[in-house]
Symmetry: C2
Subunit: 282 residues, 2 copies
């Protein structure tokens, strides 16, 4: 059992972790850290948090397990003060959607003060955000990717794995770079494309948006997500995203060429192969 769980950032993910940890009795005490007291208050009012702090150093001074649940670049910038704040032996983990830069930054800090950092990423977001939509069952059945490296000790990795499994998640392990390419492919690229689709259609035929049916709404649902969070993800993972974009553009051009050529048979064969790929995901 964790003595004191420190959660930095009480949005959808941080709030859901705190609620789920409370529901499962995973920690004796749960402390919430955030910049804005009014945004932390609901989590105290509903009994999720025992205590809140707007001061990182004070808030985490007794936390043996710290979860960073803020946008990815903010995670990176908070690592040095977190490193100074937490007690010896603490385990630090996060929920950031990109892992390479965060894990490297933590490993640099660990050469100065040896603390256990385990990078994590629950694939359980939503286009909604904020504590108001946090729920204790958010991670039930979700995949959580952990990104240990050669420098990660087995004990903390086991602890963090057990933590997520107790919240109902299935844990997968990838190295940080493989993780970043994988999420560029299945999350960041689709997100960017969905955003461009909304913007492109708004430029091309704004009046048509009134006719948008389920197909358009599903395809672009994620474009309603939090702009700050995604700004940071796109910037943090721009390299892998750029490679994904190149593959996407090539695929789009292939289809467009078949359409322009009026080559129905080849177009149908390509669409059939894509249909089979997509159906395999269900």
């Amino acid at each position: 059992v964790i003595q004191q769980l420190g959660v930095v950032g009480l949005g959808l993910l941080g709030g859901s972790v705190a609620k789920a940890a409370r529901a499962q009795g995973l920690a004796r005490e749960i402390v919430g850290v955030g910049r804005d007291p009014s945004r932390l208050a609901p989590a105290v009012a509903d009994g999720t948090l025992d205590r809140v702090s707007t001061d990182l150093a004070g808030g985490l001074a007794a936390s043996d397990f710290v979860l960073l649940a803020v946008p990815v670049r903010t995670i990176e910038s908070l690592l040095p003060p977190v490193w100074r704040a937490v007690p010896d032996g603490a385990i630090v983990t996060d929920v950031g959607s990109t892992k390479g830069a965060i894990v490297r930054a933590a490993e640099r800090l660990a050469t100065g003060r040896p603390l256990a950092f385990v990078g994590g990423h629950p694939l359980a977001g939503s286009e909604q955000s904020g504590y108001g939509v946090a729920r204790a069952d958010l991670f039930r059945g979700a995949v959580v990717i952990l990104t240990p490296t050669d420098a990660t000790a087995p004990g903390p990795l086991k602890t963090v794995t057990a933590f997520w499994e107790a919240l109902g998640a299935r844990v997968s392990v990838l190295d940080p770079e493989t993780h970043d390419r994988a999420v560029a492919a299945i999350s960041h690229l689709p997100h960017l494309v969905a955003c461009a689709l909304v913007d492109g259609v708004a430029r091309f035929e704004p009046a048509a948006l009134d006719l948008a049916a389920r197909g358009f709404k599903d395809t672009t649902r994620i474009a309603a997500a939090d702009a700050r969070m995604w700004e940071e993800i796109f910037l943090a993972n721009r390299e892998a995203l750029g490679l994904g974009l190149r593959a996407f553009r090539a695929a789009l051009e292939t289809l467009e060429r078949l359409i322009d050529a009026g080559d129905g048979d080849a177009l149908r064969a390509a669409l059939d192969a894509i249909k089979t790929r997509r159906e395999a995901l269900r």
Copy 2:
């Protein structure tokens, strides 16, 4: 009341129209026409159809209201035989996702034999297809676009409007070219982009598809749709689709440039504007 409703093509849309017309008692008799008797049999067995025919001319010889519910290029190719088959005074309509070429073809035929054609397009598809997924309530609350022209008589337009409204749909009227641009924007472009996304990710990081969560699945759901139907739509509407693609590419490039430049503030502002656009659709 329609004396005999002739439905050509008993897939998701044709089957759902037949079921709904039966449930609402909109026709004294319903005849189904298709090439494959085994695919028509379930609609007879469940009482939706009174009679089936694999012969277009024989099947529609007494139909005063004909609905064409086959892929768009097939609709175009069936118009001449339909024109010869139906009795005087019949109303012919369709459910094709593109309207320009179909409406023009019908108007050419009407100069020879004056028959009423009203182009129609229910925005109520799905990635699933076939009579097995047809349902009487498919059009409840859906938008159906009708595309009359100066050559369309008010009587038949009123009849077709009342028909769809009796099935629970809201009818919108657009001219065929405006319709084709609008659906290029909100349906055909998103479909092509979703297909390219599945194909691009499969080329870039096939292993990552195993990690695909709700975001990727929603964004690409429509890529599992019937390949034949979409081959015909893309080819029939390639001109408007090309214009939509150009706008999409411009939007994508704008976002990519902001990412490459590391311009977080401008990127966030762009994503925020897109979020607002998308949220307005709910």
